[in-house]
Amino acid sequence: MIEINDLHKRYGDKTALDGVTFSVRPGEMFGFVGANGAGKTTTMRILMGVLTADSGSVLRDGRPLTFEDRRRFGYMPEERGLYQKMRVAEQVEYFGRLSGLTASGAKKATGDLLEQLSLTERANDTVDALSLGNQQRVQLAVALVHTPEVLVLDEPFSGLDPLAVDALAGVLAARCEAGVPVLFSSHQLDLVERLCHSVGIISAGRMVASGTVDDLRDREGRGRLRVVVRGASPGWAASLPGEVVENGDEALVSDVDGDGQDILHLAVKAGKVEHFGWQRPTLTEIFREAVA
């Protein structure tokens, strides 16, 4: 388990991180979301030891991370880092060997990964000859080649087409199922919602929400009802308690106290109830709410 505890970081008089805390369990896919400049990259760089925090700690199974721990992590930095003039297979192998693989081990792992990522026929091309999407795949291969025990990926999906997103998601899910904690940041909230078990929302250097996606949606969804009544006369919803937005047959009721049974009764009187249920917000809505 990776625990991030109360990280603080200042750049001059600008506060980048102000008490960031969250954890990622083995086999958990954790989506790290936040606006630009909220502190995602800073947090991940501190986690990888590329940057030092002013205070706070990063623990693995209860003890501070060491250089040797991090060697067994897979890391994808925010701005893509590859040697443009180096061949794809050589490059992946090189990073594998730097992380401690033997020459033959690195060769085999590279072959397997390129196969999985459909890059086999580009193995001997130099990186600068590849499309951005394919370069991204190579970057992922570099992060994965040494079978890392923990994955830390900064914006791995940015700039990928839907097919590449699926391929990458598949690879990450497989690692995750094998028990690897996976932490990645993203702006694509629908994607995070689809892939992740847990999310953390960061805003201006502070965690404003974190937990499993279901918990968050349930928690944020309490107090909001969506009611659809067929054939109701206009103004039917005005009598409902709470804050109501009526839109034809549909009404959205916020600030609902209790279990909402009183609203159901009123709706039945207004006409034929077609839909009645708690309105669980999408991650995007939770995000907007949390960051606002």
């Binding site: 590329v50 940057l51 730097l98 992380s99």
Partner: protein, 384 residues
């Protein structure tokens, strides 16, 4: 340690495969080899053909074609002056002697050939006139056998002075070229890794000193290989042209000392290049951030060039002890003339200390600056 070797290996393979490196290698070797042919081009011909007309002239033949001459003289006989004159005009012979009294030439007689003809003429005429005066021919011949003057230099050994200056100046150019381009490669490699954030991935797997050391080692190996190729090309060309006979003694020593000083100079400037390069993230900033290094290198080049021409001057002697100038001035002085053993020892120790110091300081700056993103890092922020 294996991280360092892996990095070095990568540098050698990827850089050694680039067109720029291969072309640089070939061009530098060809240029140096071509320079070894130059003395031959400028020294003029070392063989002449001389036409002889009349019995008086034919008496010159033994004196002209005798052994132990530095040039070879071929002799052709002509029946009369007209035929000889035509041959001179046509360029078939370089000069023609008529009746042992006149020399025909197309314009002026080549200076060396003129001296040779004059001296042969003197010998033959003297012998004849002494014989005419009734002296015994054998005794005359014996009396005429003179031991040539022996050249003794009372200053420094001057026999190879011009060749030594030539080798030393060539060395200055080669060393400067190799030092500047390999240090530039180090800086550009550092900036590439910093700018693209590869360094973030690298430094989660290996230590900064492994990355820096491997880079300096790998690119240094390539530069050293280039230097060896240049030296072999130069010596090979010297052998091919026969110029090798005119090389001063102790060439092996000169070659070894050149390699030794190159390694020290390279380590010094490469560490400087890496430290300065780590301050910026964009190749466009490379030139401005490297200015202190290129300035220092250019000054070193200029004083080394001066020392090649004036190896015995006080300036050359002093600067050959002061790092980093010594890295180029000392090998140039050693090629250009005699250098005292204590001077070499002092220069080597000082340069070694300066190199180790620069490596340590460079590694410190590099370590602190290479992960700092954003704008240019100020040197004062990372040196403390």
């Amino acid at each position: 340690m294996s991280g360092l070797w892996l990095v070095a290996q990568r540098e050698i393979i990827t850089r050694g495969r680039t067109k720029a490196f291969v072309i640089g290698l070939v061009v530098s070797a060809v240029l140096v080899a071509a320079l070894a042919f130059l003395p031959k081009l400028f020294s003029g011909p070392d063989s002449y053909t001389v036409g002889l007309v009349g019995g008086q002239s034919q008496a010159l033949q033994p004196a002209l074609t005798g052994p132990a001459k530095e040039m070879t003289i071929a002799v052709r006989e002509f029946p009369d002056e007209a035929a000889a004159s035509d041959a001179v005009n046509a360029g078939d012979v370089d000069a023609a002697v008529v009746d042992g009294r006149r020399v025909l030439a197309d314009g002026e007689v080549d200076r060396e050939l003129g001296l040779l003809l004059e001296s042969a003429h003197q010998t033959v005429q003297t012998q004849r006139q002494l014989a005419d005066a009734g002296l015994d021919a054998a005794k005359v011949a014996q009396a005429m056998r003179v031991t040539p003057l022996e050249q003794v230099s009372v200053g420094a050994d001057a026999r190879y002075a011009s060749v030594r200056v030539g080798i030393a100046s060539l060395l200055v150019m080669v060393l400067f070229f190799l030092l500047i381009y390999s240090s530039m490669y180090v800086a550009m490699g550092v900036i590439e890794e910093k700018g693209s954030r590869i360094v973030e991935i690298l430094l989660t797997s290996i230590r900064p000193w492994q990355l820096l050391g491997g880079k300096i080692l790998g690119l240094g190996t390539l530069a050293l290989a280039n230097l060896v190729v240049i030296i072999l090309a130069g010596l090979g060309a010297a052998v091919a042209t026969g110029f090798v006979a005119e090389l001063p003694p102790g060439m092996t020593g000169i070659v070894i000392s050149t390699l030794f000083w190159f390694i020290l100079g390279y380590a010094f400037f490469a560490a400087l290049a890496a430290a300065l390069g780590s301050l910026v993230s964009r190749q466009e900033d490379a030139n401005s951030v490297l200015t202190p290094m290129t300035m220092l290198m250019t000054i070193t080049y200029l004083v080394a060039y001066f020392s090649a021409v004036q190896p015995g001057s006080a300036v050359a002697r002093i600067l050959s002890l002061v790092p980093p100038f010594s890295s180029m001035v000392m090998p140039v002085r050693m090629a250009g003339g005699e250098v005292l053993a204590w001077e070499i020892a002092v220069a080597a120790v000082l340069m070694l200390l300066a190199t180790v110091g620069t490596l340590l300081l460079g590694a410190r700056i590099y370590q602190r600056a290479v992960l700092r993103t954003g704008g240019r890092v100020k040197l004062t922020e990372v040196v403390r």
